[in-house]
């Protein structure tokens, strides 16, 4: 007879019954007792009762998904506190931030933690995506979760971008101005979309209100709903992908013994707790030591020089310096995001799931693609900046061809030549070509972002980082 613990237990007294509603008391010491505890527990219902012991290997997952979830929770709790000290209306918004820094108990700390957690979340989400890509974990049956993940990455960027405006300082105002101007270049519906987003022709009080509503309700609610679905799908898809060594890859059907499964409590939860506490401590320390930036109050008449978008869009802004806006801001991002989201539907080899970089060969190919991109991307930026003048050379042509499709086609041709050369030398298979292509393009994005952040100064000209005069 299994004793089901409910709040309605006639044998218990009033207070015992009241506390029973919170859950069973005491930690059982045997596996069976622990299993029951997990099954009954409201807090732990997102985890299965037992997990494959191999998926607990930290150097396989690096705890990136868990860290993302922790950061979302931290952002929501600090965000609610900030919300109670903030008015989404200029100029009060800026004054409220000043007030937060000086007059609100721990206001500056809460703001700093919120700011740095938000930036870290962008980085960690991207690292999580890289981990899943390089271990091949997005392949069936996990393709749905991959798409959900890509959508959540976009939502995280959206949350970051809308939050960027809220302090209403010069940095916020002009980063959002430059960032939203990119929207106007969407063909046909661009200006309508930009008008809708901004609530007018330019960043204004209406924009602040729109962004505030998106930032505190629509985007976080969407993220929480998708997160729940993401977690549920991890279980439905049979837990995490299982790490494999390259030796195991060579002899796939060796596995006759059943995989060892251990109880989630304490084996998984212990690691998660340590990881969470560590990062809470890190974010607290960072929040105490490093102040979130705040410049003077927004002035719509004076653009700082240079005016830069938020750092995660600097790769895109760098592309805008090289291509016609329709190509740089619409065609390239849409193609890249489409290729990323649909990855599990054309990369369908299942053999190497769980092996970092597919195989030993894959590791070398990844290294080669990284080095090539690290070399080619900066060289291309320099050549395009100083030697290529498409619009001057082809004066009669529409600029979206002369400074858009034409150089893009040449770059794609170069990319194809590279793949063909590697195919000749290494006899690469389709899976390895996708690995090379992803690595090459991702590293290119990182290089462009770094150039945009650190090497662009006054008038968005190229400078050495130490020669750049701060924006004025």
């Amino acid at each position: 007879m299994s004793r089901k613990i409910t709040s309605h237990d006639p044998a218990a007294g009033f207070f015992r019954r009241l506390r029973n509603t919170l859950g069973p008391k005491g930690m059982p010491t045997d596996d069976r007792g622990r299993m029951r505890m997990v099954l009954d527990s409201m807090i732990l219902h997102i985890h299965p009762a037992k997990v494959d012991v191999r998926t607990l290997r930290f150097s396989y997952t690096w705890g990136l998904g868990g860290l993302s979830a922790l950061l979302v929770v931290m952002l929501m709790s600090t965000g609610v506190l900030l919300e109670m000290n903030y008015t989404p209306s200029p100029p009060q918004a800026y004054l409220d931030i000043l007030n937060l820094r000086t007059n609100v108990w721990f206001g500056e700390l809460i703001r700093n933690i919120h700011h740095w957690s938000a930036n870290l979340l962008v980085v960690v989400s991207i690292l999580h995506l890289l981990r899943v890509f390089f271990t091949g974990a997005y392949r069936p049956p996990r393709e749905t979760n991959w798409i959900i993940g890509v959508v959540m990455l976009l939502l995280v960027l959206g949350a970051n971008f809308t939050g960027y405006l809220l302090p209403w300082d010069q940095l916020a105002f002009w980063a959002i101005t430059v960032g939203t101007s990119i929207v106007e270049y969407v063909p046909v519906v661009g200006s309508w979309l930009s008008n809708l987003l901004l609530g007018g022709p330019e960043v204004s009080a209406n924009t602040l209100l729109n962004f505030y509503a998106l930032h505190i309700s629509i985007i976080p609610v969407s993220i929480v709903m998708l997160m729940s679905y993401h977690f549920w799908r991890v279980r439905k898809d049979g837990g995490l992908s299982v790490p494999k060594t390259t030796a195991e890859l060579a002899a796939p059907e060796e596995e006759t013994t059943r995989p060892e499964r251990v109880t989630t409590i304490p084996h998984l939860v212990r690691v998660e707790l340590i990881w969470a506490v560590t990062w809470i401590a890190v974010m607290l320390t960072v929040g105490m030591l490093v102040a979130a930036p705040l410049e003077g109050i927004a002035n719509p008449d004076i653009s700082p020089n240079p005016a830069k978008a938020p750092w995660y869009f600097m790769g895109l802004q760098e592309l805008l310096l090289h291509f016609h806006p329709v190509i740089a801001a619409v065609l390239i991002p849409v193609l890249a995001l489409g290729a990323l989201a649909l990855l599990p539907f054309y990369d369908i080899s299942l053999g190497s799931v769980g092996v970092y970089f597919r195989s030993w060969r894959g590791r070398y190919l990844t290294l080669i693609a990284t080095s090539l991109s690290l070399f080619v991307t900066p060289v291309w930026v320099l050549v395009d900046e100083f030697a290529l003048h498409w619009t001057d050379w082809l004066p009669g042509w529409p600029t979206w061809i002369s400074n858009g499709l034409l150089p893009l086609s040449l770059l794609l041709l170069g990319f194809y030549t590279l793949q063909a050369a590697l195919r000749m030398i290494f006899k690469t298979n389709p899976e390895e070509r996708i690995l090379i292509g992803f690595t090459y393009l991702f590293v290119a994005l990182i290089v462009l972002t770094i150039i945009g952040i650190f090497f662009r100064g006054e008038g968005m000209q190229l400078f050495w980082p130490w020669e750049i005069v701060p924006a004025h």
Partner: protein, 167 residues
């Protein structure tokens, strides 16, 4: 009667379809409502509405005046015509200051340059600066900042003139 019985729509199918149609319409309505709520909310007399700028004589021919409240530059040509040039750069939206000494608009963000009537002298700006409609009523200059005039090149039709005295 027989014709109706011949069709393959069962009661279940009909209800299913009906419910999905109703559900779809409801979703569209909710979406349209959300979009309607995000639309620009504009007021008369501020930026976004019609602004009264001043008397025609206040702006000498050949001058460029920054109207801060309206976010535009009022250019009066040598022939007396007016255009209101929106200060927002057509490249990425920075505010373009008028450089009197250079006699052109120079964008601080990406170095786009424009003439006093807003035409592009130097890219990356893809098109001339946008305009607001200027109207002159009884010698008073009014500018409608609610409607942007987007143009590919200078068009004399956009220039507003004061009514001639010999009417």
């Amino acid at each position: 009667m027989t014709e109706i019985n011949d069709t393959n729509i069962t009661r279940r199918d009909f209800l299913k379809t009906a419910w999905s149609v109703i559900g779809g319409i409801t979703a569209l309505e909710a979406g349209a409502l959300a979009i309607a709520y995000m639309q620009p909310r504009l007021a008369e007399g501020e930026f976004g509405g019609v602004l009264t700028i001043g008397a025609v004589e206040d702006f000498p021919p050949g001058s460029v005046t920054h109207i801060t409240d309206g976010r535009f530059y009022l250019t009066r040509f040598e022939d007396g015509g007016f255009v209101a040039i929106y200060q927002r750069c057509t490249h990425l939206g920075c505010s373009v200051p008028w450089e009197q000494t250079e006699n052109m608009f120079i964008c601080p963000c990406h170095n786009s340059q424009f003439t006093s009537d807003g035409d592009v002298l130097n890219p990356p700006a893809p098109r001339p600066l946008d305009l607001f409609a200027v109207s002159i009523e009884e010698g008073i200059v009014k500018v409608d900042t609610g409607n942007l005039i987007v143009r590919d090149q200078f068009d004399p039709a956009h220039v507003a003139y004061a009514a001639q005295e010999n009417e």
